[in-house]
Point group: C2
Chain length 272, copies 2
């Protein structure tokens, strides 16, 4: 039985969404649906138009014999801002304040819908950049790295503060932890990052930027290249940050343990 | 301009895939596409048929005024087995063997394509069960928990061996670590799990089952309920396991540090 266009469109959409940033040839789809390449081209034109209109992402067409399509997931700046504004309100809830002025974030970092959005928003910032790996530090950064990795379709690597026997040989660097001004150590499994890799660093929270700075040194040790830094939230910090160039989705403007209030606004990701 | 069926099918597929296990009313789609409910019903019938034929998942139709559709992602046992067999081969690679007989897994746990498949396979095992949360222990289990959480669309919670100041109040239990026979402690943030929650436990690797057993005690402390346990890989273990009822996707049959060989086969998930 011949596969109808409607069925092709549904399955094609599913396939593209599960294989972002990957070149898929027309031949692949033609075989998958036992259909002529001309029909597949028409299908893809409809998918492209719908993805664009609905803000799902960009479907790039690569012409020629070695060509095909590449799906690049994205979110518009407006939709991202709307989402982050709602998230700021959620974060400003009073009962998030912990002793010492810390903010409780663990529920958010375990929420699949939120992680999907955060991943899509961060990935959208690097549409035109080549990225080979996403890097973060254990443990809070991991869900964010994974979320971004799903959309960029590249591996994520986890830097650790404590050595694990199951990591094999590691490379370590010392760094100054911003909050405590102490010298600490972080390390990464030797085989987890190839020389020359282009790396995006993500984390949940940044204050002085010492941890991010440590990851930058680690990237240099691996003779790899830092492409960008995006954190979910940055805190208010008096003094010079260890890192100058970064993006934040949220900015924790103030934390008042006396009145138990937290003020959170969208971060510099949304500055023009 | 009227929205055509082809565009509706593409966007509907995207929407359903991003909102698994969630009741979506016909009214929602009718508004989203400015179309009659009768057209939406026809669209959904086509989506349902295609999802079924391609093994994408089940689209359940709930009739009545409060009804709608629920998309349940799944993978067939055959497709899962095929995937896991290939993974077994990848795991049997010689250079994965670390000193002490440990197996290097970090690259796999940072691979988005692999995590998507693992998540889909584990979630497929609990299609007919009500699950409120996925639980794991830091740090290696986290990517698996997140992957499963994406498909079940429920939050994941992370048990920790070391207390963090950013977790707020915690509940802790002692457990016997299988490998070292030592008494250790694990804890979970008090507000991360509601009483009565139905919990699925996942982890990367299980030997004696002591860690899983600890999580079971923790679930009891929270007056919650254990629905099931699935680990990515189980190791060969002589003696009685601390936990009887579990599923494993992979079984590490033998590790020989002398000949540097690892034998990995599909786990008990595939036993009939």
């Amino acid at each position: 039985m011949k596969i109808r266009r409607s069925e092709r469109l549904i399955d094609m959409t599913h396939y593209l969404l599960e294989n972002p940033h990957k070149l898929i040839s027309l031949t692949y789809f033609a075989k998958r649906y036992e259909s002529a390449k001309s029909s597949i081209s028409e299908d893809l034109a409809i998918v492209k138009k719908t993805f664009q209109e609905r803000g799902t992402g960009i479907l790039n067409t690569i012409p020629g014999a070695a060509g095909g399509v590449i799906f690049i997931p994205m979110i518009t700046k407006e939709a991202a801002k709307e989402y982050i504004e709602k998230l700021s309100e959620r974060l400003s809830e009073q009962d998030r304040l912990l002793p010492g002025g810390y903010v409780y974030l663990s529920d958010l970092l375990g929420d699949p819908e939120l992680l999907r959005q955060i991943g899509r928003i961060i990935a959208s910032n690097y549409l035109d950049k080549k990225i080979d790996a996403v890097m973060t530090i254990a443990t809070k950064g991991v869900p964010i790295a994974q979320a971004v990795s799903y959309y960029l379709n590249v591996p994520f690597v986890i830097v650790r503060r404590d050595s694990k026997i199951t990591e094999g040989s590691t490379v370590s660097v010392n760094y100054v932890s911003g909050s405590s001004e102490r010298i600490e150590k972080m390390e990464l499994s030797k085989r987890s990052l190839k020389r020359g890799s282009r790396v995006l660093v993500v984390d949940d929270f940044m204050k002085g930027g010492g941890t991010i700075n440590g990851m930058q040194s680690l990237i240099e040790e691996f003779e790899a290249e830092l492409v960008g830094v995006t954190v979910l939230a940055e805190g208010n910090f008096k003094g010079k940050r260890a890192i100058a160039d970064y993006n934040s989705l949220l900015f924790v403007e103030s934390v008042d343990t006396q009145t138990k209030t937290i003020e959170v606004v969208p971060g510099n990701y949304f500055n023009d």
